[in-house]
Chain length 322, copies 2
């Protein structure tokens, strides 16, 4: 059986979920399907209790990222640290050293899209980031691969579960924005500081990535016009309902001729549009291609195992080609 | 630029749509994205007016399939003839001769799943059939590749556009089954003899393919318990509505422990289930994986360009690996 060596940077939600799927939950199934044995050789993690909780040999732990980016016994690096510049620098080093990189880190990918892809191209390593948009939903791979015969004209997404949960509860339960946000925080769908979600920053990062893939055009996330949901009132929601629709936080990009337009903003979606049925913390990506027509991908946009599923899919794709 | 030679068997709806996308509509875009030039070298087609309508050089036409399966100037064979045994025999020969095969032909794939995959394995050629289930929806590739880290527990699909159109019109317009069928035939969504669609034979073929991919277990389509929609009455539809749902023709397979159960039948779907919003001729495939949770893929299940999009995606995937 072929062996492929993995390093994981950061054993938080996604790093832990990835290890859980690959080395415990579905280890045998994945070995049978792929004929590949995956070995975790290195972990960048200071908190030894996280290794212990997952049953990872403590000797895998390192605190210096160079011991991973330069290691002979690492084929694929999973970056699940969070942050922007620090993880991007590590990913660039790994790629330049010929190690393929998988990451769910939308902020780091969106801010560094061109330099990371350039580093991958320079060494021939692969850079994959399916989990960075829509968590477990395999939309990015579909756009790049199975749909590669299409000229895309539009992409629209409900790509932030926190805001979709809040808007759903405002609409269905009649809660105020503040009540719904508090409930989302209680359930773990929103952070203590919810700014990146509710102001559309997270959605703009994801739209930057979608736009690069659909239109071969990179728009830095800070150039995307963005309006969050903190200004959405109950009367906006009532008005949408009276017009036969819902308000959703939509990240969208459209190409008409040579003109690409893009924004993140609360948007009226009529009830008969497939995106109107995407409720609570679920995400969906809706694309239109000139051959395939309208397509929608729907699923869980966050969580250890759903996001880990996308990371593992990328790992398997790389390992198959090694 | 790398050159890859294609042969198309049958210039009907899907064969014609594939040529249209690959060699006209998106030719330049595909060349830029892939760095590959695709050349149509052979066509199995007796009707020369079809070549003329598409602008294909008449010298490409052959009437003996051996001139394709044995040809030196064919890398990938697109089988879009229809039928079961005749196209399967050609595909098997092509695969055994090391030519990769792409087909949208669900009946031929479902009936010959094991022997065609065996032929591909024997020679190392690729056998891809994304277009055989859900037309342009890239669900099969996602199940086999991006979701390969999942143990699937259930797959449910609205995989036949004709019956979904009829059931939608019965529910939304109050038409009888006969009226809705007549309208579907007028609009080109149903054949003059609608048996394969309305009796669930087409859906059973697609379920056989989905079951093989999700559960690594091949069930011949004739072993799938199947009930069509010709017995669905207006009072069934009214009853579903009064219970807060709709009747949909659902192809489903479930695995509980070692037990796989499967059927095609009219099924009550509550309005808050994502499949309830799949209307008219649209298709959707809904899968549950033990890591990713619930996922749905939605789009056009038929038509020259949507189905051609899936065929072209498979062609590009094979060409990239040649």
């Amino acid at each position: 059986m072929k062996n492929v060596n993995i390093a994981i940077l950061g054993l938080g939600t996604v790093g832990g979920g990835t290890y859980e799927i690959l080395s415990k939950l579905n280890k045998k199934l994945i070995e049978t399907r792929t004929g590949i044995n995956f070995t975790l050789t290195k972990v960048l993690e200071r908190d030894m209790s996280k290794l212990e909780a997952l049953g990872i040999d403590p000797s895998c732990a390192v605190t210096d990222p160079d011991l991973i980016t330069n290691a002979d016994d690492v084929d694929i690096v999973v970056e699940s640290l969070g942050g922007i510049d620090f993880p991007a620098d590590i990913m660039e080093k790994a790629l330049l050293n010929g190690k393929s990189v998988v990451t769910p880190n939308k902020a780091a990918v969106a801010a560094n899209f061109e330099r990371l892809n350039k580093a991958a191209k320079a060494s021939g390593a692969q850079f994959r980031f399916e989990a960075s948009v829509g968590g477990g939903i395999p939309a990015l791979t579909a756009i790049k691969e199975a749909l590669a015969g299409n000229r895309f004209t539009e992409v629209m997404g409900i790509v932030n579960g926190t805001t979709n949960y809040i808007l759903t509860k405002m609409g269905e339960e009649g809660w105020s924005y503040e009540e719904a946000l508090k409930d989302a925080q209680k359930k773990g769908f929103a952070e203590a500081d919810p700014t990146a979600d509710v102001e559309g920053i997270d959605a703009a990062n994801k739209l930057s990535i979608l736009t690069s893939l659909c239109f071969d055009e990179y728009i830095p996330p800070e150039e995307i016009t963005r309006e969050g949901i903190s200004g959405v009132t109950m009367s906006d929601i009532e008005e949408a309902r009276s017009k036969g629709g819902k308000i959703k936080l939509i990240a969208s990009a459209k190409k008409r001729g040579a003109i690409l337009s893009y924004s993140v903003k609360p948007t009226f979606i009529p009830n008969d549009h497939p995106l109107a049925g995407v409720s609570n913390e679920f995400n969906a990506i809706y694309v239109t291609g000139n051959a395939v027509g309208e397509l929608m991908f729907y699923g869980k946009g966050a969580g250890a195992l759903p996001t880990g599923s996308a990371v593992v899919g990328d790992i398997i794709a790389i390992a198959n080609s090694l």
